[in-house]
Amino acid sequence: MTPPDDERREGPPPTYTPWLVVRATPSDIGSRPLAAGTPFWACPDLTIAPADPWGRVSAGDEVTVSVTVQNLGYAPATGVRARFWWADPSAGLSPQLATVIGSSDRVSIAAGLAETLLCTTPWTPQFVNGGHECLIAEVSSMSDPLTHTFRADLDRHVGQRNVTVLAPEGDPQGMMLTLTNPFWEEAQTTLHLRTSLLFGVERLLGFGLHVQPVDALLHADDRTLADPFAALGLEGGDTEPGTGLQIGEVVETGEGAGGYDEETQRRLRERRDDEQDFGSEVSEIFLPAAGVAQIELAVDLGGSDGGAMIHRLTQVSEGVDIGGYMLVSLPG
């Protein structure tokens, strides 16, 4: 028998420690910081139940929030607990803008395995800003503690999910997206847009992927999805950025975002040198230290030409991608 390639590779001597990972992308195994341009705000491990096949929930209904965490280290992780927050749609979440939902019970996770941690407090999503709220989950263990709160791009213990899936029918839906300056000085803040069109997305339903169908759309470029997409015959189409999306003026609110500690800001700035095409710039504002702005968005429903429209918005401050937001318009 020819052993698989992974048995042939040598690596550094392993450490006998836990290695907790809440994935930012389907192929994520916990390397941090994430490369610039990684959509870390669409965590496939953060889920809500009950939900429809596209992950949509009904406003006003009680749901359970959960996060799946893997321990990819060589030692068990003991006393792992998750905490959960919600916040209004925002491209740059900080603890000051979020509300605690609750926490999970503590569990121990054997080396290499995964556990799904349920929030013991139910949550009732509110229909505000034309979409669902954002979710944050943080996991921590005494032997593998959290290092950078609310920063999924810097810390594998954090999962963030900012995504709105729109109904296939009805009028264009409006929402307010929040932008925040995480730094302690004024920052040039820009909003960038990439739009993609994907045909055949209904075939994702019931296929048994390793991620939810909506996450397959959000992470369509992930290497682990190439084979399933080919098998299902999903194809991309040509489209102009912003097709079916209306973007209003960005307005400073005068509120404070709270910002991050000095170490987190330093780590964020380290990514400034990463060259990355975040897409077309669609808005710009100079935000004061820890300042907050909002921008109005409206999306046409029903996808486009029979395909799903996926709009990825990325906030960039001082050359660093701080966060983002996804809007998915499904075909009728």
Partner: protein
């Protein structure tokens, strides 16, 4: 080789069938002898063992591997060993926990002296752990010494372990069970009955193990041991769980294309805590009796009855012992039994190393996220010195780990965890010291201290068990058989790399023409990296290891698989026996002399004699129900040597009359 847990699982199924069929089975007093017989040729692993000779002399090489570990556990005259210290530590903490739970102040006052002694015990354990590091260099050379010797005559020049697996096996085991049956001694009768199970387990199980290993025992002897421990965990967990779920009218079924069992591995029974040593405890054997002999360098007190020793040795010497194997005498056999029993105690008893699986470690409720003595970044203050936690670096879940590197890392963690326990114990001692008749303790504080220290001690236990598992000396917990389905479905990676998908499932469907791996040499065999499937060139002639299919170990145990056909189906879980008893013309092939001759001829001609004997339970029952004067001389390692071929079952051992040493020199 199939290990003690697998052999006992097969034995239980055989007993169950015999009881259901109204056949006589050993009584309670004789059951230890039955299970000792069921261990079968695995008893040869420690044969001979003269404890007083240490790792030298004629002792079994496996004893040489264990000897430094046993020495660490046993201590030296006048100095308690690691086992005694750990047992003292745990006993004191258990009594302390009981007193705190009951808020019994006077019980605490009574144990002040014992608690004050614990820091000294911790210090002793730490210094003993420091010596474990030296084992990293001692173990590999000892493991290299276990390398099988050439299978050339006379058999007395081989390790006795290899002789009982590969030389005149049918003659030896046949004599043994026939004479036992004729003895009129119910102990020996039970032993002989068990010996049939032992023979069947080896002859049906070892070809399966060979497939997972990638080679027979001869080529990768330590990987064989390492893999066997995982298969033991699978078999033990599966059959104990199956027994329990059947009581609820269910079966264990496999989902996700056969990868994931339901109920899942974490719910399966574990070998740690199974107390398997109790099943064959004979003559009042205790851990202390054996460890004290190691400590004092004296012979192990005899535990087996003389009649059994005489029976075993007579049969061995008549079948194998010409010339006699050095050291294989009454004391050597008693020592082999004692070591088999003691190592089973270490593996399966909760007494020394606990039995809390890694996913069952409980930290105390309502005591915060960490103990008072641990800093936010995970460091621990011990004696005024801040000890940082082990550095976390990114693992690559797809990289097969090197056993040595893992062992170093585990030792580091053991020291760190022990430091945590030491700090907590220091606070406990200080808190208890201020208690008197007028002063009540802060019960909540003590409860938290006790809870955190318990959690650290459990982690210490598990690190020990992990060390043994990595070294190929102990079984994993059932949860450690599970794989990460997220990683598998996303990337095809098996994470952890030691999950059952890689350590317990037969790869015979995919092995192509690459079996057996690695050309064997009695002098220069490369050290095996036993955690990895061998990639060295194949040893010619090529073979297949086992019946083609991605089988789980149940295939060789009783051969049954079950399908969940829906809640309204009748019968709910239809069974298929994928590996029934092979009995063409009514004669089980394992007993068929013509079949033996046929395979022998094919082996001489370089052919591939296909055909399995069937599953171990059915083969054992066939042997028991149709006794023959002698069994056939199948190679119980499932090894055809470097000449000839074999099929999906064991193969005939070549006799010097039919196969020359040059053609079949390693048979």
């Amino acid at each position: 080789m199939t290990g003690v847990p697998t052999q006992f699982a097969i034995a239980d199924l055989v007993l169950e069938t015999m009881r259901n069929d109204g056949e006589a089975v050993p009584g309670d007093a004789e059951l230890p002898f039955f299970y000792l017989g069921a261990i079968g040729p695995a008893l040869g692993d420690f044969l001979p063992t003269h404890v007083e000779d240490g790792a030298s002399g004629t002792n079994a090489p496996l004893f040489g591997v264990w000897f430094p570990i046993l020495g660490l556990l046993a201590g030296t005259p006048g100095t308690p060993g690691l086992a005694a210290n750990l047992l003292t530590l745990k006993d004191t903490l258990r009594r302390f926990g009981d007193a705190v739970r009951d808020e019994d102040k006077f019980a605490l006052l009574d144990m002040k002296t014992d608690l004050e002694a614990l820091p000294g015990v911790i210090t002793a354990v730490r210094s003993q752990l420091a010596t474990v590091n030296g084992l990293r260099t001692a173990l590999p050379s000892a493991i290299a010494g276990v390398r099988p010797r050439a299978k050339v005559l006379p058999a007395g020049d081989r390790h006795p372990r290899d002789a009982v697996h590969g030389h005149s096996t049918g003659t030896f085991w046949g004599k043994l069970r026939r004479r036992a049956a004729e003895s009129g001694d119910p102990r020996l009768e039970a032993f002989g009955l068990g010996a049939s199970v032992g023979y069947a387990g080896a002859v049906c199980g070892n070809p399966f193990v060979n497939g997972v290993v990638g080679a027979p025992h001869r080529n990768h002897w330590w990987r064989h041991r390492w893999v066997s421990n995982y298969i033991d965990s699978w078999v033990w967990g599966y059959y104990r769980m199956r027994e329990r779920v059947r009581e609820a009218g269910r079966e264990i079924v496999f989902t996700s294309s056969g990868r994931v069992p339901v109920p899942p591995y974490p719910a399966w029974d574990n070998i740690p805590g199974a107390e398997l040593q109790d099943r064959f405890a004979i003559g009042g054997i205790t851990p202390d009796a054996v460890l004290n002999a190691v400590r004092d360098g004296i012979p192990v007190p005899p535990h087996l009855p003389d009649e059994l020793v005489t029976l075993w040795l007579d049969c061995y010497n008549e079948a194998v012992g010409d010339p006699p194997s050095p050291g294989v005498d009454a004391e050597g056999l008693q020592g082999a039994y004692a070591m088999t029993w003691l190592t089973t105690w270490i593996a399966s008893s909760a007494e020394l190393l606990g039995a809390t699986a890694p996913d069952r470690i409980n930290e105390p409720d309502d005591c915060g996220e960490r103990p008072d003595w641990v800093t936010p970044d995970g460091g621990v203050v011990v004696g005024g010195t801040l000890v940082p936690p082990p550095t976390i670096s990114q693992p690559s879940p797809s990289v097969a780990e090197l056993a040595s590197a893992i062992a170093v890392a585990i030792l580091g963690v053991m020291n760190f965890v022990l430091g945590n326990a030491a700090a907590g114990i220091a606070l406990i001692v200080a808190a208890v010291a201020i208690i008197d008749e007028a002063t009540d303790p802060d019960w909540d504080e003590l409860r938290c201290h006790a809870g955190w220290v318990d959690a650290f001690i459990v982690q210490l236990d598990n690190a020990f068990r992990e060390l043994l598992t990595v070294a190929g000396l102990g079984p994993p917990y059932a949860v450690q058989l599970a794989h990460n389905e997220i990683q598998f479905t996303a990337s095809g990676d098996i994470v952890p790399s030691t999950a059952a998908l890689r350590t317990c499932r037969s790869p015979s469907a995919d092995e192509g023409e690459d079996y057996p791996a690695s050309v064997w040499s009695p002098q220069t065999a490369a050290e095996s990296n036993w955690t990895r499937y061998p990639t060295e060139p194949v040893e010619l002639p090529r073979q297949i290891s086992y019946a083609e299919g991605s089988w789980w170990p149940r295939h060789f145990v009783d051969g049954f698989s079950f399908v969940d056909n829906g809640p309204t189906a009748v019968p709910r879980f239809p069974a298929t026996q994928d590996n029934p008893l092979d009995a063409p013309g009514g004669m089980p092939s394992v007993l068929d002399h013509d079949e033996w001759e046929l395979r022998m001829q094919r082996a001489e001609l370089g052919g591939t004699p296909q055909g399995a004997f069937g599953n171990a339970v059915d083969v054992a029952l066939a042997l028991i129900r149709a006794p023959q004067d002698e069994l056939l001389d199948w190679d119980l390692d499932g090894d055809r040597g470097s000449a000839g071929r074999h099929g999906c079952g064991a193969i005939p051992r070549a006799s010097p009359a039919t196969l020359s040493a040059s053609e079949g020199g390693q048979l």
